[in-house]
């Protein structure tokens, strides 16, 4: 539903490496390049350990980048900034965390949790205004004003995630990174939170980076989807196209592995089962990183790392099976 193709966040060759010990470096994110358009939801999927959360945090500036850059509205996220510049940036980028139990301070009332950003950025001049804003936010996410005086432990998982969303919305951001916002919730509650996020996006023109491992939910919420494997993107495409004509063997395997809630389909479905586990990102395979599990691996795959190319308009893939690679 991105009507305009105005780029909001530009990610270029972003790397984030962690030093494990003297000899080893864990390349959690290793050369990400993609754009996030204004008003869209970009879904980032991959299995655990593929670096999707690290990517989200690095894009937010919670981690320093090891190399490459992230430009938000044209300004670099990772460059050194004055306090005021940093505040301006953090006001327009917010995050929703995975674990609604761990990401709310248990010793603060919900009102104070939500108002923290309002206080830091001085968005409310009087106490009454602060309360009014918090109450509005609570109502926006489907809670009521009375809930503000309670503590996080008094809420269920779904309600807590709503509080997390209200907190992110408090400073009126343009861009929200949602790191597995629903994976800790029950199915029926997941749908509530996803519907809420979609509604807020429509009302406020928000841009989301939606990180998840649940491909069916990502497809549902995203306009475009990027698939990550071992620190790198293997495919980026508009979500319907990705699900209908996946190009990369990994994407194909990932899609075929999702069980569909329909027994007749499940009984007759042919699965592409990928063998083995994800290799360690400390010592990833040479060439294409997926080649050790890839059913289509060729000789060239172990030698040369495939380039990330635009195989069809808006459909990017990194695989030797396609194009000039």
């Amino acid at each position: 539903m991105a009507k305009t193709k105005e780029t909001l966040v530009e990610i270029k060759d972003l790397k984030r490496h962690f030093k494990v010990d003297r000899k080893n470096i864990l390349k959690a994110v290793d050369g990400l390049t993609f754009d996030i358009y204004k008003g869209e939801t970009f879904g980032l999927v991959g299995e655990s350990g593929c670096g999707k959360s690290t990517a989200g945090r690095t894009i937010m500036g919670l981690y320093q980048a090891s190399a490459g850059e992230v430009r938000f509205k044209g300004a670099s996220v990772h460059e050194k900034k004055s306090k005021r510049e940093l505040k301006n940036l953090t006001r327009s980028m917010q995050m929703i965390f995975q674990d609604p139990y761990a990401s709310l301070n248990p010793r603060m009332t919900v009102k104070d949790i939500i108002a923290e950003g309002i206080d830091i950025h001085g968005l409310a001049k009087t106490k009454e205004e602060r309360t009014k804003r918090v109450n509005e936010l609570l109502e926006t996410v489907g809670l009521n004003a009375e809930h503000g005086n309670r503590y996080p432990h008094e809420f269920s998982g779904g309600q807590r995630q709503r509080i997390g969303i209200a907190r992110a919305l408090a400073v009126d951001p343009d861009f929200i990174v949602a790191d597995e916002p629903i994976s800790a919730l029950d199915v029926s509650i997941q749908a509530q939170v996803v519907n809420l996020m979609k509604k807020l996006q429509k009302e406020r023109g928000l841009t989301y980076l939606f990180i998840a491992h649940d491909l069916s939910m990502v497809k549902h919420i995203s306009d475009r989807v990027g698939v990550m494997y071992l620190g790198n993107l293997v495919e980026v495409a508009p979500s319907n196209e990705l699900y209908e004509t996946p190009l990369h063997p990994y994407t194909q395997a990932l899609l075929s592995a999702i069980p569909i809630a329909n027994p007749q389909i499940e009984r007759t479905r042919e699965r592409i089962i990928v063998e083995g586990d994800v290799p360690s990102p400390i010592n990833p395979p040479s060439g294409c990183r997926f080649r050790t599990r890839c059913p289509m691996a060729m000789e060239i795959c172990s030698k040369i790392e495939p380039k990330f190319i635009e195989h069809e308009p808006e459909h990017w893939v990194a695989c030797h099976l396609y194009g000039k690679n």
Partner: protein, 342 residues
């Protein structure tokens, strides 16, 4: 197929400082040889407590059996002593837990953990048990089992740990395997591997499986029969086709509607409003009444009885009463596929 387990009117409660939490209320089901029964429900619906009761893994106190029976081999498990249970656990009923990271003992090698049951239940010699352990690891698809058997859990990946746990659970050829969310902590590609493995092993060994999950995709993939739990009760039970193609309980409709589908586009998910009931003070009537769009007066005050829709499908909902208005399942609960005659 022979019936091997029969749960009748089981009720399990927990004493807390606040009140008695009635986690499982009047639950009945049967399990047959060579079948997979899926118990589906949200967290707090009582599905895990039901499963753990079968193995008597509920700490008592604070837990307690309030009523009912669990008949296994004609004997009531709820009446057994702790000592008698020791000869059932692992030997007759095996269990796979959700989290392979925390349910293996980090201080013991995988081999020792597999051999433990064999040595205890089958009085095997150490050497013999280890050899059997190597076979089992091979069976569950772990490469170089001779080497792996002497390693510790931290040296295994998540998927391999789950395989190792399946090996431990299967070591003594149990008649029933309880799998409590066996793939929830795993990635989809690994999940597909593990589900395939469980199906293959079932074919080979004839074990009955109780699969606890909240993922309807997993249910469609692996189960023969399904019991849908809500608020400590089974609200609907039937064969997998009946539950997916002819569901009659509004909660089952809600569950099916709140799942995103890969085959349709951009529709809003049909969320079930509200949240599950507090089981410290369970509603008098149908547990789903407060969230049910079709709730009638009777629903709030009287628990509906089970209406038998076929020899296999039973649904506890007042809508099926002849006095109730006719309600057809909403369009969003139609997962596609032909309806079964019921």
């Amino acid at each position: 197929m022979k019936k091997i387990l029969s749960v009748k009117n089981l009720s399990v409660s927990f004493d807390t400082y606040k009140a008695e939490v009635k986690a499982v209320r009047d639950v009945s089901f049967d399990l047959h040889e060579e079948e997979t029964l899926a118990i589906v429900g949200e967290s707090g619906s009582g599905k895990s407590v039901t499963a753990q009761s079968l193995m008597r893994l509920i700490p008592m106190p604070p837990g307690k059996f309030v009523g009912g029976s669990i008949l296994f081999n004609g004997e009531d498990i709820t009446q057994k002593s702790e000592k008698q249970m020791e000869s059932i656990r692992g030997k007759e009923i095996g269990m796979i837990f959700q989290d392979p990271m925390t349910s293996l003992n980090p201080t013991m090698t995988i081999g020792k953990q597999i051999a433990e049951g064999l040595i205890k239940h089958h009085s095997m010699a150490k050497k013999e048990a280890y050899n059997r352990g190597v076979e089992l690891l091979k069976l569950v698809g772990i490469p170089t089992p001779e080497k792996r058997i002497n390693q510790y859990p931290h040296e295994f990946s998540g998927g391999m740990r789950q395989r190792a746990m399946i090996a431990i659970a299967l070591a003594c050829n149990p008649k029933i395997l309880i799998a409590d969310e066996p793939t929830t902590a795993l990635d989809v590609t690994i999940q597909a591997q593990i589900l395939d493995l469980m199906k293959e092993l079932q074919k080979e060994t004839g074990t009955a499986i109780i699969l606890i999950t909240h993922d309807l995709g997993v249910v469609a993939n692996a189960a023969h029969r399904v019991a849908v739990m809500y608020g400590g009760k089974i609200v609907e039970t039937g064969t997998v086709d009946e539950i997916f193609y002819n569901p009659r309980h509004p909660y089952t409709w809600g569950l099916l509607g709140s799942m995103p589908r890969l085959d349709n586009h951009d529709e809003e998910l049909k969320a079930i409003p509200g949240s599950p009931p507090d089981l410290a003070d369970p509603p008098k009537g149908c547990p789903f009444a407060a969230r049910c769009p079709y709730a009638m007066k009777a629903c709030g005050s009287h628990m509906p009885e089970y209406y038998e829709l076929s020899s296999t499908q039973k649904t506890a909902c007042w809508l099926l009463d002849e006095r109730a208005p006719k309600v057809e399942p909403p369009e969003f609960a139609n997962v596609g596929g032909s309806k079964v005659n019921g």
